[in-house]
Assembly symmetry: D2
Homo-oligomer: 485 residues x 4
């Protein structure tokens, strides 16, 4: 794709796949709005007072239909927004088109190269004369990473004139990042400094992004306040568990149409993602086997009637393998070549390194036959048998389907909106320093409450006496911080 | 589409959407073969002796990937095959292309007009100088209908020179059938007589098709033997129950990506289809409400924890409505206009008249907005709210997804193969007269047995003493005819 | 127990364990009435017209609280009743006491010897000067058996003066039956003839009892009409499936308090009983393994996510073994000695010969330690490990708990009442000859309907047009005879 | 019961119901040992080194079979033990007898009066010349309470000669506590001071007990270190969730034999206890309705397909009501009188004040009919209808059944053993001050690991690289402190 910026009638800059899909995108956005009551309630509650007036927000987060509803919630609260995706495959092009036409600057399309991905990131962070965004909505921490690396490199340049050296790393993606920063310094050696000075804060929603933030907090290198949205209960216990319970079978069926009933399915990892996957698969009639490292999670699996075994125990008998560990090197090429013919291998954990895609791609004589996009059959020369790999080892629920459904996205996107509001409202209060914060529990409970009416749920009210008896405020929060739900 | 017949390198006549999809079709057929162990076992067991050598088989059955495996099982047993679809929307074009290129004459594409549909049927029945097929594989009974109507009209023509009058009926589709026969008689007033004389028998796999057959048997108008494959246990208790348990959520998610968890879903009808739907929806976290006419099925629903109510009771509170009754006029336009905004309405029962599509289409001021193919939003002028109708009221698991998964199709397609073999083998024995027959139970059990190995199941053998004790042969059949499973 | 008959204030003869339990029994009967809406509806509908006035009914059926509600439904419709249990362990003594005090003659207590059992049977059939009962309610067919054997022996005696010879059989129980008949003939050589002449018919509710009836019908030896209540849908698909789903875990927990979650449980047989057991166990978190002979039932198990293996495959790894086959010799002593220490072995199928109790009792050096009544630990001398056997291998849901809950009993007891009414009403019509009949489907549907209101279910009514469309009467029956539910 | 202490051949003091039940108790203890692998593993691992040699342990915890295995684990590690129950109804008399005969001093029987209860407590704390226990195992905090109140009263007495005044409180039970302390001070005004000086620490396992401990920590009045075992994951997420999932239906079926399938059951509270109850009931075929105060828990219920309503919404239509809130005044007499006839009301939450027993007992004209112990029917004079109350409003899983199964008890009892070991080993280290501590996560994981082998689970090991990648030690702990499981 030629990397040039366009500008639409609405005045928003963009680079998207096909602007003619905007109408289709708008229709799906309208459907999604009905399914995202938390975001719509934010518009109703906060819209009139325009609390984000004046805020420039850069988002780096899968550019999907649901994200469009998030973006338009932010803009309806007064913000200006520039957006890019946080994954090269996860953009829904019709969502990008509708958003770019109607509400925000968007740089995203399905199937970016890594080079294109970082170009989009740079554009989303480019607020022209304003020097940078006020707030960042981050998913996976790439926007935060770029700014931190940029600042570091600018400092080195200021101090000793050195420029980042892309050849200093083996990691292909990091080479691109370093090149980008190098070129930027050549043009403007203070760009990232101006940016970090302006930034009020970031809200981050993934385990890995949050992990990086805590590391930076530990090192004392964090450049601005951060709100960890990932550990809100309405994110961690809803998105992963109920989201994956929905999206794993949805993606598996779209990609392969394989009958799940009767199959032996191995779920690697029994955290929230694994729990959601296992529940869906068991309900569909599969015989689910779990692999686990953590004895507590393993015992939970057994209590649910799921055998806990090692991958070795079932490598030849299982029909479907799902990685959900958040770790690397879970299914190696040596495992894959011993699997049944047409065993399905997929990842819903985090990065594509849960599955040894490199080992597969470099296996001598291995042949890849693409059945359809995101569904490949890899044939081993020794056995002539093949396995089916989904989404090239990346997140299969995004690659082979449309990710989590709107309703569950609404839960954690509402957390994002409340976090952005909190950061912006407190921008001059000194409430937040360069640390990582969790959303307070009463906001977490508020997010849940905003989603109940849509489902017809009616809460019971505590009497004063009851509240006193269990020692909580009658209007909440109702639980201690360490309550596990 | 221009209605002309082409002929490929393999010598097969065809009319399909796009021959270039043949490779893609072939890849998916190869995947499906692994999931259809019953059909593949038939090839292994019967292929060498070519028992269908000399048989001309016409099939009228959804031209999908799975059907391609059925067709190629028939051809690998020696048959020649001509095929059309039994539904204007259900053809998978890549399956049609691959089959037409490699193994049989095919006349089918997704989105036929009714006119085109019956043209395809005529071509599938046209065996040139041979006068007609020896065997028919029927789904819904349209091929059988055409022949019976043809014979009836030819008789009337012979007797009193009268030709069928398309204006004698209000039913649009039947007008087309009558026109077709009228034109045929003008050209060749004995065509359908020659056809019925040649036909050895038909195997039929749907409730409605079988119903018509029993009616004809009752009237004494059935023109050739018929095997009712629909009531094999391995069809009735597997295809409907487990097939729909799989394909209902698959189609719902493809069409709308709506979160099922937390929603109120009404399943109209708790027969095998309804049972499968309700099980899937409950497992996905929906609150399922059942409507039923039959107190026994209603009591089954209640025993599964599902409230049984009337449509009126929940018309305003439910989020999703699924018809699975096999009856007509289940959800009327008057119901639809009182539903929640964006309520989803779909049919997985049988004909599109379960939902009052006509009422909807003719409702004054109702406006249809197509979100994407097979997913329409209908907006009522009075309330400005809309409902989402899937697959235009037709079978949503075929229209919005790929129907039942290969494995469950393998069960009842294996019944079809065994039925075709039975009819052909007995063609000169007089074993079958112009009646409707059920497959004998030992063949039903055989179908099941052929599918167990793939799933790693190991059967226990009865000892002689045990078999004697319960008064069955040690090798089966193991149950009485009226056993309900 | 001394075998003498007592007579209470209500005028009913009895032999029960302890009349002082009558009040407790009455309280539980009153609770059960609320849970047995079908029987109570019969009292309301038929009570006023006293349709069973004049009928003498003998019942041989587990003398439990629920049976008391059945008996009192029969008496409230006008019948006189005499009752015995059909199992030496199944009587609930408080139920027997309350019934004997208030409504019928009862001869039953928990823990009868076989000798006592048949004494009770004889008393229940003894209607004094009236010569015998008009109607029989049978469970397992022992009352029917005794009369048929009695008639046969009387014929032999009449013909050639021979008396039954108890030593002619190895079967201990049959020896008792023969002694009983021998003694009866000595006193009165026409007793059973008078009895069979009087009998209008029997209704029988078990698989094995019905099996015997069909054999007699086949042999032409059936002496009076019989209604097979066992194959009513509201019996076969409710009692076995939902009844065992309830009573298996209830009994397992009462007997052993073992945690079901996490355990490997083998269910031998996947008929209706096995299906109910497997569903309950899976839901409780067990890993359920099924053994099956019938490939269709096996495939059903696999579709529910349950591995189908042989007993050998899991004999050393399973924690709990449940027989539900209806066959004999399912778990042999050779299996039992290889099981894990404290493996639990129990039977919910039919007779105690599903488990090789004889083999266990005669195993050299095996030692039985009774933990509590109906829960024994058997220790093998070789390994010093032991297994836990429930209810001495007999039906564990009766032996270790109270059998099926009232609600499900109400379903099939209502079938019994309707069957008795049908036989009595038709007694002079010649409608029933010496054959086995099934209850007509409209009565089966009526039984279901009578149970729906209690559970708040609301049926939908078919319109005339809909009824015509699917070709059934608008008021039912709604299904064909072979419909499998 | 006459309150005198006896002494057995084993040298242990006791007051139990019936020493002749000791053999039966021993048999059940032996069965339970097989189901409590964590405790048995502690015996194997620590027994040889006798780490609790010299420790005097007082326990106040339901004196059941499982507790006997806990007690004998403590004694097999070298401790001396004195025990009482923490609930007047929860003692299993055969367990008490076996323990008293063989391993520890026991003061407990089923059905103590409150007076007797506190007498037992005093005896369990009476270590004669040694002045008091070294360690306390507490459940609900009554032992801790008595010592704290005793010390407080002794201080007041020392300071100003005042004695506790039982008439100063309305609470009947606290009157008894005050009397006890008053009498103790009269005899020995330093008893509780000597006791607290000796005590190394307490481990407490209930929510309410832990709540009191944190309050005392907050007030600065805590007299010795405490380990909060309640918040170990292997307690909180296992005992409540899986324990209640097992014991709720077990107790419901024992008490009433009511069919759960088809019933409407209200579960008040969707914490871990409520989640376990709801899961069991839904699986058994009930229609479960949840009431909740906390929007997050409410949203979890909805995601599981359970409607969240208020008690008012269903008060007239529900069949069974289960309180699981941990709060008071959940179901009031005003609710109860509007319920259906024979609605079942029970509590599995914590105290009997979840249900308004006082309101029921004092309702004018209300009549109680005891069906059997722990199952009462209360009849209202106005309507003549009645409701069934289980276990007099106390914990129904203890009152109507045997509480949680051994396996799940083993999980949190192993926590108790590890906590006692930790306190004792660190007694001279100053590691623990007068604070409340949680068990470190690696011990929590150890507890889980000790239970996996019994269930055949096989853990996967992290490689060094994987451990580094997710930044945890390869041998655990694997999760952050706030991870929710």
């Amino acid at each position: 794709m030629e990397l040039s910026i366009e500008k639409g009638a609405g005045g928003f800059e963009y680079k998207v796949k096909d602007m003619s899909e905007a109408d289709f995108g708008r229709l799906e956005i309208q459907l999604a709005e009905v399914e995202m009551p938390g975001l719509m309630a934010c518009r109703t509650e906060f819209g009139p007072s325009q609390p984000l007036k004046g805020a420039c927000i850069t988002g780096s987060l899968h550019m999907t239909i649901q994200t469009a509803v998030l973006i338009e919630t932010l803009t309806s609260l007064g913000a200006e927004v520039r957006w890019c995706s946080c994954n090269i495959f996860s953009t829904q092009d019709h969502a990008a088109a509708a958003t770019a036409r109607d509400s925000a600057s968007v740089f995203a399309w399905k199937g970016e190269t890594l080079q294109e991905y970082w170009w989009c990131m740079e554009k989303a962070l480019d607020w022209g004369f304003r020097g940078g965004p006020d707030l960042i909505v981050d998913d996976g921490g790439d926007a935060t990473l770029l700014i931190h690396e940029g600042v570091k490199a600018e400092e080195a340049y200021t101090k000793c004139g050195s420029l980042p050296d892309p050849t200093s790393t083996d990691n292909e993606e990091f080479q691109i990042v370093l090149s980008l920063i190098r070129d930027s310094i050549k043009q403007d050696p203070k760009k990232y400094h101006r940016m970090k000075d302006r930034i009020v804060g970031v809200s981050e929603e993934t385990t890995s992004g949050v992990h990086r933030l805590y590391q930076m907090q530990g090192n004392g290198t964090l450049l601005f306040p951060a709100i960890n949205v990932n550990d809100s209960v309405t994110k961690s216990k809803f998105d992963s568990l109920y989201g994956c319970r929905h999206s794993l079978p949805a993606a598996l069926m779209r990609a392969t149409d394989v009958m799940i009933a009767g199959k032996v399915v191995v779920v690697c990892g029994f955290g929230d993602v694994g729990k959601g996957c296992a529940a869906a698969l068991k309900a569909a009639g599969a015989r689910v086997v779990v692999t686990e490292v953590d004895p507590i999670c393993a015992l939970q699996a057994v209590m649910e009637g799921l055998p806990v075994l090692t991958l070795e125990d079932v490598i030849q008998s299982a029909d479907i393998f799902v990685t959900a560990t958040g770790n690397k090197d879970v299914i190696m090429v040596d495992h894959m070549k011993r699997m049944k013919n047409n065993a399905i291998v997929c990842n819903i954990g985090h990065y594509d390194n849960e599955i040894d895609m490199l080992g597969l791609e470099t296996y001598p004589g291995a042949k890849k036959v693409t059945i359809k996009p995101q569904t490949d059959r890899w044939i081993f020369p020794d056995t002539k048998t093949g396995i089916i790999v989904l989404a090239e080892g990346r997140l299969m629920n995004l690659g082979c389907s449309t990710g989590h459904p709107s309703f569950v996205m609404s839960c954690f996107f509402t957390n994002q909106v409340l976090a952005q509001l909190e950061l912006w409202n407190a921008r001059e209060s000194g409430k937040y320093s360069k640390q990582v914060y969790v959303l307070p529990k009463h906001l977490d409970e508020k997010v849940a409450a905003l989603h109940l009416a849509k489902l017809g749920a009616r809460l019971t009210n505590l009497t004063k006496e009851q509240a006193a008896y269990i020692n909580v405020p009658a209007e909440g929060p109702y639980k201690t911080l360490h309550y596990r739900y």
